[in-house]
Amino acid sequence: MVTPIDKALDELVTKAKAGDKAAFSEIVRKLMKPVVALSYRMTREQESAVDLAQETFLSAWQNLKSFRGDSRFESWLFAIVTNKTLNHLRSRASQPTDRIDEHLPDPVDASDPERDLVQKQLREDVLEFMASLPEQQRLVFDLRFYQQMKFEEIAEFTGKAPGTVKTHYREAVRKLRAFATGKGWH
């Protein structure tokens, strides 16, 4: 079913493909959150996540003509950010650096300290859980849970069989349940 949001996005994509930069900026505005968040949950690095997300939109702009509309535009974008993020993680793994943000102090927002504290704790817990997953499980979990992608779509751009993707997801949720028990979430 095509929702009004999908339709609006499709129209923006059509305009952007014709070279309309304002339309593309609107696409960036609509989709920046899932793209940045995906990269952040994968890397646990705020600065890298923003940079990778910007590179993703830059690549999308450069390769917009190659998007034929066979899949959803968001899926195409997630494929780009996923590739960039995985490449980043692999290059980081080969370099003995420590840039994980949990070691950096977060800026304090004085407007609502209590809410910020809860949100910060939630973010740290989820990032900790995500980091505990193997790369493929982490990716599949993120695409399914946060990006609401179908198993078939995930299978398509990860190059895995749908059955394998489902197994990864099931395993990730099983580990999540154990993690949540340890944290006393329920």
Binding site: V28, A37, D109, L122, R123, Y169, V173
Partner: protein, 188 residues
């Protein structure tokens, strides 16, 4: 449906309650343990937040969009102006200088290797050939095309003619001296 299948299904449809198959829903009505798992997963799903909860601190939409626009603008080819070109002038001058020196040096080496003076070079090879007609006796240099023709002529036909001319020029006494004193076997 048994409990094992139901739990697998619950894990697979985690946070997607609306997509739960009817047989799982039916099983949940009759199985307290599976229902407990279902409720547990609902609570966990609610704790995970959404994409908005994972925006880096201090990052605003406007800043992000502006940053992407700047990066796209940097991709666009800029208009070339005289002021823009001027910064490349020293590099261009250096390249031209190096090329000039290389070409002059190359030409000197080629002509010098074959006798230094173009006129002498042509005379040595074959005075009677067509090449001589091509050669301007007033010039101090020959160009590369003429040089190549001279070389080619010498290597093939001209070379042998030069050899014959050398023997023809010897006097009877010189030939006799050679016959008596030239130790061909020794040379070989």
């Amino acid at each position: 449906m048994n409990c094992s299948d139901c739990r697998d299904g619950l894990l697979l449809h985690f946070n997607q309650a609306e997509t739960l198959p009817a047989e799982i829903l039916h099983h949940l009505q009759s199985c307290g343990e599976c229902r407990h798992l279902y409720e547990q997963l609902e609570v966990i799903g609610g704790r995970l937040g959404d994409n908005a909860d994972f925006m880096p601190d201090g990052l605003t939409e406007d800043e992000f969009v502006a940053a992407v626009e700047r990066r796209i603008d940097r991709l666009e080819p800029s208009r070339v102006t005289w002021i823009g070109w001027r910064r490349y002038l020293p590099v261009a001058a250096a390249i031209l200088l190096v090329l000039g020196i290389t070409l002059v040096g190359y030409r000197q080496v080629r002509i010098g290797y074959n006798g230094g003076n173009a006129k002498e070079t042509a005379e040595v090879y074959d005075q009677g050939s067509l090449l001589w007609a091509l050669y301007d006796t007033e010039a101090e240099e020959i160009d590369d095309d003429v040089f190549d023709l001279i070389l080619s002529d010498f290597v093939t036909k001209g070379y042998f003619e030069a050899g014959e001319l050398l023997l023809d020029d010897l006097t009877e006494e010189e030939l006799q001296y050679l016959e008596e004193n030239l130790d061909v076997r020794g040379i070989l």
